[in-house]
Amino acid sequence: MIGSTLAILGVLVAIFAAVAVKDVLVSRRKQMRYNLKNCLVSYGMMMPAVVLTFIFVLLPIIYSLGYAFTNFYLLKPNDIDFNGVDNFKQIFESIRSKGDMYHAICNTSVFVVCVVPLQIGLALGLALFVNRQKAGVGIFKVCYFAPVVISLTITAYLWLQILSPSEYGLLNSFLKLFGVAPKDFLRDPDRAMLWIVVLSAWQGCGYQMLIFLSGLTNIRKELYEAAALDGANVWQQFLHITCPGLRSTFLFVVITVFVGACRVMIQPMLMTGYQSHTVTLSYYMYVQGYSYRWVGYSSAVALLMTIVIGSITLLQRRLLREKD
């Protein structure tokens, strides 16, 4: 492990050095005065950040990429063999046979498709509400943002109390007032994921609300005044001033919410445990890698997931660039 780490470090240092040498050569060719002092200070300043990025970002990615093509078993770290694309074959076999990987993909897709519009819609609605210059709005801002700073674990337990199948559960107690029999919300295969969507959107929308709010403050007030003078109603103002003004903010929020949604794990883990109707890709990856100890297989899932999420994110960025 240390040997391979040093080898990777060596390659990166070589790349780093090559960039520096190229920098010097280009400067000389253009007959520019190359200031060695400034150059060394700059590289020196960069080095701590580069080292940290190397240790905590690059190294895990490179190792994970490598492990995806091995039979790495957690309890046999000294006995890792290259197994080609076997892990990927197993993944596709699990999908074909409608195994847990298939359920994980379906559940994650449902989650992403539902949570992205819901969370963004809620965030935008809240941002528009608190953007009004009225007394007491600050309190609302704090209230809406509060779930973001509360640990997801605590939030999940809070919702477990709300959705408790017991007749004393908060939601069941409320439904009882209308004569509805107690329901086991999280055990219902058709609706459990939707409850996780609701919890996640509620928990996360406060953060996006702040981002939208900063976007709203950048829209000039004069535009609204002019539109009002021209007889535009609130809806028309929203459609023709607010929406175009928030487009870049909106696309940024879409990307971040989408990526976050693809990685959902804590909520199903705490609310239902590992069940076929709520297992997500990240949860599946965690169970395969840590509980079942198949680090190689889990890394292959992570690699595929990264490729898919990365591709969609790049597509979204491309859309953003084209429209700008």
């Binding site: 060394l40 080095m47 905590f56 195994g99 199948p165 017991s166 590992y274 069940q275 076929s276 079942y292």
Partner: protein, 434 residues
Amino acid sequence: MKKLFKTFGVMAMASMLMLGSACGGGGTESTVDKEGNTIIKIMFHVDEKSAEGQAYKKRIDAFNAAYKDQKIKASASYIARTAGAADYEQKLTGMQNEGSLPDIITFDAPNCASYVKSGLIYDISNIVPQDVQNDFISLNKYDGKLYGLPIQESSAGFYYNKKIFADANIDVSGYTMENPWTFDQFKAVCQKLEDAGKTAVDMRLDATKDETATYLLYPFIYAAGGDFLSADGYTANGYFNSAATQSGFQFIKDLVTEGYTSYAIGATDFFDGKVGMYLSSGWTIPDLDNKYPAQFPNRDSWGLLPYPKGTAGASATGSWSFAITDNQHEDKTQIKELLLWLVTAESSKGITDATGMIPARKSVETNYAAGSPEAVLLSQLEKTGRERPATVGYPQFSNNFRQVIYDMKTKDLATVLTEKASALQAELDKLKGM
């Protein structure tokens, strides 16, 4: 220029220090300290400050005092399992990878097979004297060889509220380990509790997010004559979904369909007097003694019943154990001294006094009063205790078991068992080549 190189040097040194501290932490330390003591390293799975951690610390300190003249010194580290078993295992495998495995580790009994197959733990069949082995209630064996010595034992049973039982006119005094109650008698008691307007029993069907449901419910399948895996631990098909296994799960499902239990019982419903019986391990005894004086002011207000008997008797067992690791130290003579010290009757008593669990050794003087909950658990453990399946794929087994418990509420049991047997078989097949 000097200043420039000084600045650059500091930056470079800071970076190298960061790299060093991140990659470091491993390495093999010397096994002999400056004073000439041979250092035996041991790793515990609990926080040093916990009651259990303190009990271990006391025994380690006592060992160091006793073996001072022989120049043997134990050095303990405590890795609390903050993020579950995987977190602890990751530390272990990291150490194995670096060649810095401690000499003795603690491990959860169901992991014995996978640790053996991975070369993590060492065969101690010839290290532990036969008389010591015979004194243990259970041992961690795999393929006929001894790999672990239990630190303590555990068992579970049905805690019951004596007031609710008296109000429902139920007499269970005749149900003892000598005269165990049957599945039918269990249901009859449940029916009487239901007639009295109470939820009969909390079977802990909601505890499927972790090992709790497996630990508490697997004995019902053995008691019904069922099984989970073949003797070698690699075949699930035909065992996990056999007719006898299904009848064990069916018994649990019937308790739900007949309204005796449910998946919706609140965590404190038994302690609040809403439920007649509560399936749990020995760790509930201190809670009933101390935490719920309104419902359970003293030990006359509650009792403990053993698992009911089907075609056979079976009850939950299993806890953490000590094992010698298969590390680079070939001479295990001094390591053996520490291992045997930690499982002496005195150590066993000291540790179980702190944890409230059952001592692993028969010779430990327990002084449990006849008929007390502790005596019931000990007697049950000796008579019907049956371990969870010994398989390399234990996590996969446990996960599938819990999914059966979860799914059988809404799905056809036979279908669920066939589905999970196939899923488990696929996982076990992957492990065959390891």
